[in-house]
Amino acid sequence: MRRPTSIQGGVARSVLLLLGCTALYLLAAALTSNSYFLLIMTLVPIWATVGVSWNIFSGYSGLLSFGHAAFFGIGAYTVAVLFAQYGISPWLGIPLAGVAGGAAGLLIGLPTFRLRGVYFSLAMLAYPLAMLYVFEWLGLQEIALPLMRENPAAYMQFQDYRIYIALAVALLLTALAINLAIARSRFGLTLLAIKQNELAAEAAGIDPFRWKLRALVISGAFAGVAGGLYAVVLVVVTPHSVFGMLVSAQALIFTMFGGVGWIAGPVVGALVLLPLGELFTATLGASLPGIQGVIYGCAIILVVLMAPEGVMPWLASRMGGKIAPMPSASSPSTAMHAAPAAPGPLPAFGPAGDDLLVVRGLSRRFGGLQAVQDVTFTVRRHEILGIIGPNGAGKTTMFNLLNGIIEPSSGSVMFEGRELTGLRPWQVCRLGVGRTFQVVRAFSRLTVLENVKIGALTSEPNSALAQQRALDALALTGMSAQADALAANLPAVQLRLMEVARALASRPRLLLLDEVLAGLGKAEVDRVFQVLVDIKNAGITIVIIEHTMHAMVRLADRLLVLDQGKVLYVGQPEAVTSDPTVIEAYLGKKWARHVEN
């Protein structure tokens, strides 16, 4: 996905371009009288809409749907059955088709989002095919929309085919406008975050399930409306023509051909491939039935092999940006203009020294391995608690238990008097516990500011205010200068600080930091040290995991030593180096005896 710097100008230009293309298209339709060409010109915007619908879901969430025919078919049948059997006009039927498509998205999404990756794709494949047989069995093999001789316009029947073209184009423009609105809002940014790193998104307070479900409902609604209009235009609906594999494949192929995640991608795909397929069908279809499928198949194979991102990004990179790209996600950065504020207003605090987090008897077993056993400790407000221990001591597992990535076998975690066990990571985040990961989990194709803003959005839905919070968090971590850099291009220390800023942006009262110092040079360690002290002074409590005792003794107010899943020691950092059990854990029995002597 290309991300030009002046997105504002790009969008204005793109909208103008789009309106210009629309005007040209309608002009061409007005000048055409061949009814076959007019039919193709109606089908192009309808299929482009199906592609946009597919793109709204799959382009953002990253989950490839092989089953959009389910929504398209339900929309088509809604209109056809309402009209043919109940006499309800498509003017009402088509909006209802959208409702039906959206409802199908909800019902399909609810169970299916449990699956990830290709498993989701395979499951989606099954829905329309199952429906196909059900509709055949229901006796709906072929539904013809009745011809209304009186008052045909009230039933969306027109002598002049060009009115259908105008309707289809209007539908496509609506879909594109919604897509653009999603792209430029919190919605698009959130979906992109989920696509790039679902676990990190969840730890930043995003509920992936709910957002994916919303995307699928919107996507299903548009596919349903497109299916409804398709039924009106083609007059006859059969299960194979609306639930068949080719329908799902067309949605996917048109979008992938143009460019997944590019707003104009599906439009370009439909504009090129559909007339191409129809042209061959018209000229060779009699002697070569199925030529259309062969062409679509070849097109998608060529795209996968030669331009896997799609034709638009490919062209854009060839022509050196002469084509105005319409990147799907955009959040105009004003980083450089905003005043790098001092640590912004922070949440209300309780008195220093009381117990913020109380962990009791926390245990987790993986098969035969007792990764964490019966761990009990408290975290006091405004302190830095260091957790150290050798490899495999259970440090990261304990963090995963604390923020809900895994569930404990037994024990309790109370944060400000609230039980955290059983909550999902995004819920824990929203209660005020932020965390970073041992291996940084960045949204690598977003900018630093966008990464941090995602953290802010969970507690601040207003985009401008969230932006300000993100800028504050960047200022606190000394990362203001890198706000517009792509996360993928950051060196290790800045990546760590960005992740800390992302956690800070959600306004946590407790910050869990997993080895933020690992692998850093001495100067870098000092830089991060200073940031941690600043965070503490801003009133945020920190629990930090570290591998090396050396760094911890300098930083932490208290230390907790874990070994083989058990707490060896909790107390003052100065005393820990003389505790025989700790020395034994780190250096072995021989050294422990040596020290005693």
Partner: protein, 320 residues
């Protein structure tokens, strides 16, 4: 004959038929399972490989005259073997020309390990093969016409005087061939050098490379072998099942269902998964109208995916 006996007869007949059908489904699934477990590729075009196998067997039986030359029984088996060999060649060529570009070391470590390009590429392949098949073979259904598909052995009377079971001869022959082929594949994987190479490449492609195994060649062999097995099973099915170029899409979901049911990554599981799917399909006949047979399979498929994605026999829990 009492209603109870009729029901009993129906159930027993369905069980018997589902065993025969299930065997072939099992073999179909082994082809897909082989490709998945060695290459981690979900092949969308596997149904079309089956379709091509069916036409190849038809061609061998009637066109090459194997049926007339060897007699019906041997001719059918020989035609299916011919289909298997032909599909091995087709699979190996497709791998060398297309699949190798989106699989193996080229995609290791990329986003989603390249699953999406693989799925999309094989989806394109499936469209080309199914519609290309329509151009080449026409849309009218075919079967390999023999006397066997309409004759059956009669078993019985079993209980009392009236309960008879029928064993369709074409299906029985297919079933026996299926079992022989499945056992041969199992022995091949377990005991030969190439089998070991396949298992090593499946287990850890990177480590296999360091041990001097040409993983790309192993993948080509696995893709060819997987295509051959499914093609052969298609050739066997062609003797009793009317087919046309679009038959693949009906069966690809059956194959997915079987492979997922057996636990993705397990070839043995794929066979038993296919057997279970055959069972579900035939038994659903007892309670559902025949048009909904495939819907029953899709629902079982979805239920397995949602409730037990590691499969009934699977050990892999990796499903990210």
């Amino acid at each position: 004959m009492s209603n109870g006996l009729i029901l009993l007869e129906n159930i027993m007949q369905s069980l018997l038929t589902s065993l025969l059908i299930g065997g072939i489904y099992g073999l179909l699934c082994v082809g897909l399972g082989m490709i998945f477990s060695v290459m981690r590729v979900i092949n969308f075009a596997q149904g079309e490989f089956m379709m091509l196998g069916m036409y190849a067997a038809l061609f061998a039986f009637s066109g090459l005259g194997l049926g007339a030359l060897l007699g019906t029984w041997t001719g059918l088996v020989a035609s299916a073997l011919f289909a298997g060999v032909a599909m091995y060649v087709v699979g190996a060529i497709l791998h060398a020309a297309l699949l190798v570009r989106v699989t193996g070391s080229r995609v290791a470590g990329t986003e989603g390990d390249g699953h999406y390009p693989q799925l999309t590429l094989t989806l394109g392949l499936s469209l080309v093969l199914a519609n290309g098949g329509l151009i080449l073979f026409g849309s009218s259904p075919h079967t390999i016409q023999t006397s066997l598909s309409s004759s059956a052995w009669e078993i019985g009377p079993l209980i009392g005087e009236d309960v008879y079971l029928f064993l369709n001869q074409a299906r029985s022959l297919s079933f026996l061939t299926t079992i022989v082929v499945a056992v041969a594949v199992a022995l091949f994987i377990r005991h030969t050098r190439m089998g070991k190479i396949l298992r090593a490449a499946a287990d850890n492609a990177a480590a296999a490379t360091y041990m001097g195994i040409d993983v790309s060649r192993a993948h080509r062999f696995a893709f060819g072998l997987g295509s051959a097995i499914t093609g052969l099973a298609g050739g066997l099915l062609a003797a009793s099942y009317p087919f046309q170029p679009y038959v693949g899409i009906e069966f690809v979901v059956i194959m997915y269902a079987g492979v997922v049911l057996g636990g993705m990554g397990s070839i043995k599981g794929a066979f038993w998964g296919g057997v279970v799917i055959g069972f579900v399909q035939q038994m659903s006949n007892l309670v559902l109208p025949s048009q909904l047979q495939n819907t029953a399979i899709f629902i079982v498929f979805l239920l397995v995916m949602l409730l037990r994605p590691q499969g009934l026999f699977g050990r892999t829990t990796d499903r990210a």
